[in-house]
């Protein structure tokens, strides 16, 4: 080892984004994957199929995405950390199952490698068009978690975090990535040790209720002798169906909301770049945040006081952070690969006017496009 290498720093490994998801999932303890092939997510499935075989896990290619998400939920209740990966059309097919997972408080991780939609759209091209589907894809009041990586390194790290949050809050977690990052190959650092959270299988209390209004109940697995009653119909803390009791329904829907929404400080992660003295700021996530940080650096060279608020969490939405930045800058610019989904949400919190830069041709935004917008519209 050359003397300049820090022995605590892991070596660099070149890895494809989708492969990084599979590798990280195994390391955090994922032992079940049910899926169905779809571009641009299939490499996750192909890699994890092999890794699960080597690690005493279970891989199954199901007959469709509806079956995939259902099998994942079944496996989670059997005690396995479970995941699936998909894209656009498959994500749409999974929505009913995801609502079921949310309502039954089933931990799972779903990787959505976003592609250009709607419908079959452009299977091999990048987009960020599922922003609203993460939050509103299933019917009813629904507060799942969606994380947004911007690099292969973060695909690795946020896969681990997705499992940890799913296990901690008993909630489906979406890893909201896209074709560009999923198919990128980058050097990443893989650490020997990191935090691993496991659901609480034994303990006080009922499996579907909690004394605390934002509490996460214990989750015994099938086979633990808990005589579980898991149901997607409204249920009391024990699990008995109660489909006509207004209080049972309201209490359940409210606790499930508070489980994530009372813990936004634990869940939401943002990063600031050059924001201290910024007069204009970008607000971005995923691949578009990488475009934005490059644009900010070049704008700074040109003397423009630009900054970036980058969110690693799509949902819950970083309301507080947007509000703060909105007080400071004269314009907030949201670049994204859709027609303005994040921008429309940001408008609800930003005091500064929210501008949007949208690209929907299946390609990533270039820094020049952002710089040009600033020079033409905001100087």
């Amino acid at each position: 080892m050359p003397p300049s290498v820090d022995p605590k720093k892991p070596p660099q490994t070149l890895m494809q984004g989708n492969v990084a998801v599979a590798e990280a999932a195994i390391r955090v303890g994922c032992r079940f994957f049910g899926g169905y092939p779809i571009t641009p997510s299939s490499e996750v499935m192909m890699r994890i199929a092999q890794l699960l075989r080597e690690n005493n896990g279970t891989f199954i290619q199901m007959e469709d995405e509806i079956a995939s998400i259902c099998a994942v939920i079944g496996a989670s209740w059997s005690g396995a950390k479970a995941m699936t990966a998909t894209s656009g059309p498959g994500f749409s097919l999974m929505q009913e199952g995801l609502g079921y997972a949310y309502f039954t408080e089933t931990p799972l991780v779903l990787v959505d490698v976003q592609r250009a939609g709607p419908a079959t759209g452009q299977a091999t091209h990048v987009a960020q068009g599922d922003v609203m589907q993460f939050k509103y894809g299933s019917h009813g009041d629904y507060y799942p978690i969606a994380l947004a990586p911007w690099s292969v390194q973060e695909l690795y790290d946020l896969t681990i975090r997705s499992f940890n949050l799913a296990e901690k809050y008993r909630v489906p977690v979406f890893l909201a990535t896209d074709e560009a990052i999923g198919h990128a190959r980058e050097n990443i650092e893989i650490y020997e040790e990191f935090e691993i959270v496991d659901r609480v299988r034994e303990g006080e209390g009922m499996p579907f209720g909690h004394d605390a209004p934002d509490g996460v109940p214990v989750m015994p697995a099938f086979g633990d002798g808990a005589s579980l009653m898991v149901t997607g119909s409204t249920h009391n803390p024990q699990g008995f169906r109660k489909v006509d009791d207004p209080d049972v329904h309201n209490n359940l829907v409210t606790r499930l909301m508070r489980k994530t929404m009372d813990h936004v400080d634990d869940i939401v992660e943002t990063e600031e770049y050059f924001l201290d003295d910024a007069e204009i700021a970008f607000f971005a996530f995923g691949i578009s945040a990488r475009t934005a940080v490059a644009a900010v650096r070049r704008l700074r060279e040109k003397g423009v006081k630009a900054g970036l608020l980058r969110t690693r969490t799509l949902w819950p939405f970083p309301e507080k952070q947007i509000t703060e930045v909105g007080k400071q800058v004269r314009a907030l610019i949201v670049p994204e690969l859709n027609k303005g989904m994040m921008a429309s949400v940001a408008r609800g919190y930003s005091q500064a006017p929210v501008h949007q830069i949208n690209k929907t041709n299946g390609y990533v935004l270039e820094p020049e496009e952002l710089i040009e917008y600033v020079e033409e519209e905001l100087s």
Partner: protein, 252 residues
């Protein structure tokens, strides 16, 4: 109450949700008696169901682990649960509409894969819960809320369908023949791999009333009178055959 019922019914139940004369309660009894015979520990039993009246047979009535899922998806959930913990004796009990209309794809694929599951179809030839609409099992000519003039489409022969998809055991018995039905469920439970029992379970409220069988005695005796052996069924022309129940084992 029989020993099996006492042993497996969940504590704290508030009566039955089934209509008077519904076959699903009889089927619950048959399932529990068969389960009792195979002697699997209670904590190793998992019952999975979809959505519908039939899906309420195990949930919450059976005091083991129960997974009451989405309409049509019970077999897919059961596949995941079973594969993640192969120790679980996993039994799906759900309706004909659930398992074979909306869920037909999952059913044939689980049979094809030979997943170690027993699927029991509570077959009332109708969508009971939602108000008596035509199902993929409704006989030609039978009246339903969506076909008041009589259904014109052929029903599935579920045992043939699932046998062709690769099931290791398939059988059909009505709840009017409880001993044979219990024996068949027991055999299905003992056989490794994918097994299927089509349990004919009359629905007086949604099927009987619309088809001149509001009288329970008439409904149940009509079911009995339509039961023939598989050989007798094969000798019939298709139209006649589709109006009968071929009773027995198909793959054994």
């Amino acid at each position: 109450m029989s020993r099996a019922m006492e042993k497996y019914l969940r504590e704290g139940l508030a009566g039955t949700a089934f209509c008077p004369g519904c076959g699903h309660g009889i089927l619950l009894g048959a399932v529990l008696r068969a389960v009792d015979r195979i002697g699997v520990k209670k904590e190793d039993l998992l019952f999975v169901s979809g959505i519908g009246c039939a899906a309420w047979i195990p949930s919450p009535n059976i005091g083991t682990d129960t997974l009451h899922t989405l309409h049509g998806r019970a077999v897919a959930f059961a596949t995941g649960a079973k594969l993640a913990n192969p120790k679980l004796k996993t039994i799906v009990v759900s309706g004909d509409g659930d398992l074979t209309s909306i869920g037909g794809n999952h059913l044939i694929h689980a049979a094809r894969r030979n997943v170690d599951l027993t699927v029991i179809c509570a077959d009332n030839q109708i969508y009971g819960m939602t108000g008596g609409q035509t199902a993929s099992t409704t006989p030609v000519g039978a009246k339903s809320s969506t076909d008041p003039g009589g259904n014109i489409y052929r029903p599935f022969d579920l045992c043939k369908l699932v046998s062709a998809a690769g099931a290791r055991y398939t059988a059909r018995y009505p709840v009017t023949q409880p001993r044979k039905l219990i024996d068949a469920i027991e055999k299905a439970l003992r056989q490794d791999g994918f097994t299927f029992v089509d349990a004919v379970s009359p629905c007086p409220t949604q099927f009987g009333r619309r088809n001149q069988m509001a009288n329970l005695k008439k409904l149940y005796s009509t079911v009995e009178s339509l039961c023939v052996t598989p050989a007798e069924a094969e000798a019939m022309d298709e139209e006649t055959r589709l109006h009968h129940f071929a009773i027995g084992e198909f793959v054994a």
